[in-house]
Symmetry: C2
Subunit: 124 residues, 2 copies
DNA sequence: GACCAAATGATAACCGATTATCAAGAGTGC
DNA sequence: GCACTCTTGATAATCGGTTATCATTTGGTC
C-alpha cells in the first residue's frame, strides 16, 4: 500500500468529505462516481489499510453493518434514519452517563444511538 | 411447537431467571445444566419460537452477537462488561435524548450502551 | 403400555460478509 | 517510453452464524 492510485484517492476523498460513518457499500457506490470500474475487493483492501494506519476507524451500531469514519473527530454519537438508513453524526452527549450505571459498575465508555427520521426523510 | 418438553422448560426458566440479555451460546451453556444433551439447533428453534410468540425479543448491541431478553420489561439500557463480556440491564436513562439531535431530526427511539467493568470483574 | 405426531440432536447445507487468488492494468523511476 | 513491481478487479474460497435435513427420541392420548 504505497502507490497513489485514483482508487485510493477517491476513497480517501469520500471519507474526508462525508462527515458521517460509511459502510463498504456506500464507499463502493460513492467511489464509482470517480472510478466506475471500482471493485468491492479494492474497497475492502483500502478500508483495511486506512484503518491499519489509523486514518479511519470502525463504527459499530446495533443491528447495522460496520461503518467507518475518519479518526480524530471530537467525541460524538450517531443518528440512524429509518427512512434512508444513513447514519449521521450527533455532536451532543448526555454527559452524566457514568451516574446511570448501578452501584459497583465502573463505566469507561458509552455509546448513544438515536433513531428516527432525518430532515430529508421527515416529510416523506 | 406445542409440546411441553424439558428443553423448552429449561430455556424458558433461564430467561425468566436471568434479568439480562442472553446470547444463544449462553442459553446453550445454561441449558445444559438442566438437559446435558441439549443441542444448539434446539436452542435456535426454541428462541425463534419464543420470539415469534412475543415472549422474548432480540437485543442488538454494537459489535456483539445478538442477545435475547424477556418482553415486557420497563424501558432500560445495557452495560457490557469488558472483563466477563456479559451484558447487564441498566434501569436508568438519560431522559432528554430527543434534545440531543440536531434541528430537523425527529427522534423516535434511542439506545444507550455503557462499557466498563461489572462488580465481579472490577478488582480483577 | 402402545401409538403417532411433534421435538430433538448431530450434522450438512446455506447465507451474507470478508478475504485470497491471479491474470491484467497502471504508478514510479529511469 | 520501458520495465518492473504494486495494485486492481473478477471471482473463488473462506468464515461464523443460522437453518434445514432426517433418523431417533419422547410427550400426549387412548
Amino acid at each position: 500500500m504505497e502507490r497513489d492510485t485514483k482508487q485510493r484517492r477517491a476513497i480517501r476523498d469520500i471519507f474526508a468529505r462525508e462527515h458521517r460513518p460509511l459502510s463498504t457499500e456506500e464507499v463502493l457506490t460513492a467511489g464509482r462516481a470517480f472510478v466506475p470500474s471500482l471493485g468491492i475487493a479494492t474497497v475492502y483492501r483500502t478500508i483495511n489499510s486506512l484503518a491499519h494506519e489509523g486514518w479511519i476507524h470502525s463504527v459499530e451500531l446495533p443491528g447495522e453493518p460496520i461503518r467507518y469514519e475518519r479518526c480524530g473527530k471530537p467525541h460524538h454519537h450517531h443518528f440512524i434514519c429509518r427512512g434512508c438508513g444513513l447514519a449521521f453524526d450527533v455532536a451532543a452527549c448526555p454527559e452524566d452517563v457514568e451516574r446511570l450505571a448501578p452501584p459497583g459498575f465502573v463505566v469507561d465508555a458509552h455509546e448513544l444511538v438515536l433513531y428516527g427520521r432525518c430532515p430529508g426523510c421527515h416529510q416523506a
